[in-house]
């Protein structure tokens, strides 16, 4: 991993971690538990579609998906090194982690830009 990339990756880790810390709990509670279990009335597909169509929501969703993926990539990478003592696989782990995050961000961008 190029040395010059390290500050950028750390910044993505940090910003992504903040996005996840601020926004993920309410999303998990509502979309993962309260709506499927019927505790609260879920918005209809049309209502969600109308919401997602808004440009600000698209930007929000891109930030919501992509930055936390980079947060994961950075944190998981070092957890693998330290936890499982895989220092000899440094490059492979880095490529897989950041590559997955990059792929997820690309799919999110493609979905949010091309959707009708």
């Amino acid at each position: 991993m190029a040395r010059s990339l390290t500050p950028l990756l750390w910044l993505l880790f940090s910003v992504g971690g903040t996005v996840a810390a601020l926004l993920f709990p309410v999303h998990v509670v509502l979309l993962g538990l309260a709506f499927p279990l019927g505790w609260l009335a879920a918005p209809s597909q049309e209502a969600l579609h109308a919401l997602i169509r808004h440009p600000l929501t698209r930007i929000y969703l891109f930030v919501f998906v992509s930055l936390p993926l980079f947060h994961w990539a950075h944190r998981f990478r070092y957890t693998l090194y330290d936890g499982l003592q895989l220092k000899h696989l440094t490059q492979l782990i880095a490529v897989i982690c950041y590559g997955t995050a990059l792929l997820g961000a690309a799919v999110a961008a493609y979905t949010l830009v091309t959707m009708s």
């Binding site: 993920f24 709990p25 499927p36 998906v65 992509s66 994961w72 959707m115």
Partner: protein, 139 residues
């Protein structure tokens, strides 16, 4: 007594390193807490992907969205989201509490108290959670 002969070795002598078990983090509660905190990122990533999947289902239309909701009502996904909630809350709490140490805020040359910086994070958390809930629950 002859003077000691110094010989420089070309390579650094091999350090003595105690072998550490792969399970080192189970030896102490604080180590286990640290690794659990780091592993919350797995649930962060998985939930980001579930959200992406949901967006795609909504965009594809009512049938795709209904199929997605059937998946979410399965015991597997309810269990996943229950664990994911604990994980993301653990992440949020540890993240906010570390924020004053990671980012020192100064006002007129004086360092802001840690409790104030962490408190601002909790306030933002409450505000944003309320805003998201409002947008998803309004009729």
């Amino acid at each position: 007594m002859s003077a000691p002969v110094h010989q420089y070795t070309l390579h650094h002598p091999k350090w003595y390193r105690r072998r550490v078990s792969v399970w080192w983090w189970l030896e102490r509660r604080s180590y286990a807490r640290f690794v659990l905190r780091e592993l919350t990122c797995v649930f962060v990533a998985l939930f980001a992907l579930v959200t992406l999947w949901e967006v795609r289902a909504v965009v594809q239309g009512p049938e795709a969205h209904a199929r997605f909701l059937t998946w979410l009502r399965s015991p597997f996904f309810l269990g996943f989201h229950a664990v994911a909630l604990l994980a993301v809350l653990f992440h949020s709490i540890t993240w906010f509490n570390l924020a004053p140490k990671a980012m020192v805020v100064r006002l007129k040359g004086k360092r802001m108290p840690d409790a104030l910086v962490a408190g601002a994070n909790y306030a933002a958390f409450a505000l944003l959670s309320a805003a998201v809930a409002f947008l998803l629950l309004r009729r």
